[in-house]
């Protein structure tokens, strides 16, 4: 009797499950399986006693180990958590009110975000700049409220030079013309003047007016508020430069020069002074007087700069000058903030992945090598 020919896996499984044999080979295989199954073997009583003696009869609570399917819950949960955090961030940071007329009055206390996301920056020890954009829905109200201000300007006894630039949008050319005249009128009414006006209305219905205004420093806030009310305020930039230190230095230099001139004049009054020395002193006196005149002019210029603010006003009908960021609504800003936060989260995750991945790859390789070695070792042992 020869060994059975190869029986397919499916048939072998069927025979193991109790299926009736179909061929002689299968009959022989079933007989072999029956012989194996008929053989009995029970653990010796000594072994049974030994094993059962160590096993307590009471039931023990099973520790529920997390299933691998938990991965399919954990990963979506992590993504959901990240998205939730982004939404919460968007709600908390994106729900700030957009800068409006009401905030114009509070601008000195407004946050950077309220000032069009551009915080006031300190570009120097004596300079403060700030910029932002607002939309004025009620220009007349702004004009009527002389207390409104656009930026932290003035409010101090120090000598400061204010340099402001505003962009205002009007609906059409007719309003552009009236706004240009109104700007000049505002400057005049506040004690200032229009240094230059560049009014352009090319074909197509759009136009732009560039107006350079000079207004007294004490009226700059009122001027800005009223100018902002000429239309829809698109952007603003206010720069305040502290001139107090410059004025103080110039005043000290002037004092020194005056004292020096007085000393020189006193020395020249001495009739016993030798001619050569007298000539030398006269030269020094002339230089000092010239320097004094320069310092006086410079101080006059400093005082003038500190008492007169320069305002550059651009009135335009072009829609392109509108800053897109200021067109965002509440939902848009919230979505933008949430997406930004998601981007930060993704960046952090990517960074962590970059840091961890080499170690993970090494660990995986070590695990795979150890597994392969163990398999090879087991195979060698069990096939011997």
């Amino acid at each position: 009797m020869s060994a059975s020919n190869a029986i397919g896996h499916e048939r072998l499984e069927a025979l193991l499950a109790g299926d009736a044999p179909r061929t002689s080979d299968e009959t022989r295989r079933v007989a072999l399986l029956a012989q194996l199954r008929d053989a009995t073997l029970s653990a010796p009583e000594a072994l049974r006693s030994r094993v059962l003696a160590t096993a307590p009869s009471r039931s023990r609570a099973f520790v529920r180990r997390p299933s691998r399917r938990l991965v399919f819950v954990v990963i979506p949960a992590a993504f959901a958590l990240a998205a939730t955090a982004a939404i919460v961030h968007g709600l908390t940071t994106g729900s700030s009110r957009p800068v409006s007329d009401g905030l114009i009055a509070d601008a000195p206390h407004a946050t950077a975000g309220q000032l069009g996301k551009v915080p006031p920056t300190f570009s120097g020890a004596n300079t403060v700049t700030g910029s932002g954009g607002v939309r004025s829905a009620a220009p007349q109200a702004a004009i009527a409220s002389p207390q409104t201000t656009l930026a932290p300007v003035g409010g101090t006894s120090r000598l400061q030079h204010t340099d402001a630039s505003l962009q205002v949008r009007v609906s059409d050319v007719e309003h552009l013309s009236s706004a240009t005249r109104a700007a000049t009128r505002i400057a005049t009414s506040l004690g200032g003047y229009a240094q230059s006006v560049d009014y352009t209305t090319p074909q197509g219905g759009n136009g732009t007016a560039f107006i350079e205004l000079r207004v007294p420093a004490q009226n700059v806030q009122r001027a800005l508020a009223q100018l902002a009310g000429l239309g829809t305020l698109v952007s603003q930039h206010v720069s305040v430069q502290d001139l107090q230190h410059t004025l103080q230095v110039q005043s000290e230099q002037i004092g020194q020069l005056r004292r020096r001139i007085a000393a020189l004049q006193q020395a020249l009054a001495d009739r016993s002074l030798p001619d050569a020395q007298r000539v030398l002193l006269q030269i020094k006196l002339a230089e000092s007087k010239r320097a004094l005149a320069q310092r006086l002019n410079a101080r006059t210029g400093t005082v003038t700069a500190g008492t007169t603010a320069r305002i550059s006003l651009v009135v335009s009908t072009e829609k392109s000058v509108v800053t897109p960021a200021h067109k965002r609504g509440h939902m848009s800003r919230m979505l933008h903030s949430a997406l930004g936060f998601l981007g930060v989260e993704a960046m952090v995750a990517l960074y962590a992945l970059i840091v961890i991945s080499p170690f993970a790859v090494l660990a995986g390789l070590a695990w795979a090598l150890a597994r392969a070695r163990r398999r090879r070792d087991e195979k060698r042992l069990l096939t011997a």
């Binding site: 009797m1 020869s2 060994a3 059975s4 190869a6 029986i7 896996h9 072998l12 499984e13 193991l16 022989r28 295989r29 072999l32 399986l33 012989q35 194996l36 199954r37 008929d38 053989a39 009995t40 073997l41 029970s42 653990a43 010796p44 000594a46 072994l47 049974r48 030994r50 094993v51 059962l52 160590t54 096993a55 307590p56 009869s57 009471r58 039931s59 023990r60 609570a61 099973f62 520790v63 529920r64 180990r65 299933s67 398999r375 070792d377 087991e378 195979k379 042992l381 069990l382 096939t383 011997a384």
Partner: protein, 188 residues
């Protein structure tokens, strides 16, 4: 007697349940004593077949249940039957024993145990069949034990052996064919 070194019990030994004896997750959790009493003979038979040595199988069985008792809290019946879990522990224990035997062979240049001269494997096993079984490799004997004697299904046996289900079927088919051939050789 301590056989082999202690190894950690594999984490996923009971990932696949067997329809033969897998308890439902909703049923009451059995105690370890009940499981030990139910599965002792099966584990012992498996180890006898795997090692070909009853005496060693007794020690390995005891060690298997000691390990199982220590890790009983980690056993999750939702993931498989106690028999599958115990067989995996028994296999790990037996492999340690094989490794120790191999070291001893290298040291003494001879096996201390001769499978051919050992006591009979099982009661009621015909002589030619028993001799043929002894001539199989341990890997072939264990797959026969798992699939035929312990009646584990394909996925559970493959899980215990750490191989694919196809490889398990192939190994079983080859083992049975070898067994028939060796029976023929013995009878001739």
């Amino acid at each position: 007697m301590t056989i082999g070194r202690r190894r950690a019990v594999p984490e996923d030994v009971n990932a696949v349940s067997t329809p033969l004896d897998a308890p439902s997750a909703r049923t009451a959790q059995p105690g370890f004593a009940d499981v030990a009493a139910d599965q002792l003979d099966a584990v012992f038979r498996y180890l006898v077949f795997l090692t070909g040595d009853r005496s060693a199988a007794e020690d390995l069985t005891a060690e298997t249940f000691e390990k199982a008792f220590r890790t009983w809290r980690r056993f999750d019946p939702r993931r498989g039957s106690p028999r599958t879990w115990l067989c995996q522990i028994a296999r790990t224990t037996a492999i340690d024993w094989f490794r120790a035997e191999a070291r001893r062979k290298r040291r003494e240049e001879t096996y201390s145990r001769d499978f051919g001269q050992a006591s009979e494997l099982m009661d009621g096993l015909p002589g030619p069949l028993e001799q043929a079984v002894r001539e199989l490799s341990p890997a072939e004997r264990e797959v026969v034990a798992l699939r035929v004697l312990l009646e584990l299904d394909g996925p559970s046996a493959a899980r215990v052996l750490g191989i694919s289900q196809t490889a398990c079927s192939t190994r079983l088919s080859r083992a049975l064919k070898n067994l028939e051939e060796r029976i023929d050789d013995v009878r001739e």
